[in-house]
Symmetry: C2
Subunit: 197 residues, 2 copies
DNA sequence: GTCTATATGTTGATAGAC
DNA sequence: GTCTATCAACATATAGAC
């Protein structure tokens, strides 16, 4: 019996996966407990309510998103940062087509009546939009706010439709089209790429 | 007491609104019955299961979508048909920002385990994609399939993000940006518009 | 066709032994 | 900290009077 149990992490991890695959409301505590191999009653030692588990999941996703975005920025020009993000998503195109965007899906499921939890999830999406906007701003583009919104909305739309139509190939192809669109925003980009090669 | 009751229609209408606002799983039969002012037990005279109500809602939405698309096409060139569709959405930007897309939201909520119901909902989205693709094809554009997917995914993304960020103004502005994008696909379009004016 | 009452099953949450 | 047993609330669905 380990002094420091990993049950809490297992529960969050299980909830994360299940909420992604089935959504928050369809996922029961029994589902989570079973997936995490933790007895149902024991769940309440770690989390006061089901909502609390979800909040922990969102917190972890926000951290994970933050790490990903920082990693995209590292040693990269703003446009390349955006491209890096798309590359990451292309790498996950199969899961995205399978279960949609973990962030977008959850945000849509939650509404005002979910209170704090919705704010928590929505703030992740805002974070992504703000980050994207900042990249466009750093690129010196006018209307960076519009572009940031457009960038994220295009990605979200592609994932949503790729999921609904269950078409990872098209999802991937359309993510590339978004990347292509970005390069066209900076006329010099292609020449720079060629020069660097 | 009317010989032909409108209870069935009231139930579908109530379910339609509630599913749009709250989603399918969060909406209970009691909610629907109350909104439709029909006693709970009586619901089962009209629908065998909750799933059946949702199927009726989807069927109605599909019919409504079909009417809308036909109306967009009537007396219009393919590009104008696409523009008409966007105009309709712009007219609904407030509700779309409030509760998201009735079609996209439901499709995302349902997955393989929902069986027939998911197929039903997804077929609506496919229908929209196919219609859009057909417009691009009629415009004589290469890669009409890619464009059809891109068109719908952009609209879905804009609605999703407009809903999450609760920003009807930006939603409207971004729908216009999609319209702008379409016009740029046909270099002659603007001149034609000007000539027609 | 309509409605009340209720069966049946599931879910989130708790109590309390260990 | 852990786990079993169970509660209370709610949801879908049914039975049966009218």
């Amino acid at each position: 019996m380990p002094r420091i149990s990993d049950k809490r992490e297992r529960l969050i991890s299980a909830a994360d996966a299940l909420i992604h695959r089935q959504g928050f409301y369809r996922t029961t505590l029994a589902d989570i407990a079973e997936e995490a191999k933790v007895p149902l009653g024991n769940v309440y030692y770690y989390f006061k309510t089901k909502e609390d588990i979800c909040k922990a999941v969102v917190t972890e996703r926000k951290q994970s998103l933050s790490n990903m975005l920082k990693s995209c920025c590292r040693r990269s020009e703003p446009m390349d940062a955006l491209m890096n993000l798309i590359k990451v998503m292309i790498g996950h195109s199969r899961e995205l087509a399978e279960s949609g965007c973990p962030l977008g899906g959850l945000c849509q499921e939650l509404d005002e009546e979910c209170g704090e939890l919705m704010d928590c999830a929505d703030s992740c999406m805002k974070y992504l939009v703000d980050w994207s906007t900042e990249q466009f701003r750093l690129m010196g583009l006018k209307q960076a706010e519009e572009l940031g919104f457009e960038f994220v909305s295009r990605i979200q739309g592609v994932i949503l439709l790729g999921n609904i139509l269950n078409d990872p190939r098209r999802l991937k192809q359309q993510l590339k089209a978004v990347a292509e669109w970005i390069t066209e925003l900076d006329p010099d980009y292609r020449e720079e790429e060629r020069a660097a090669a």
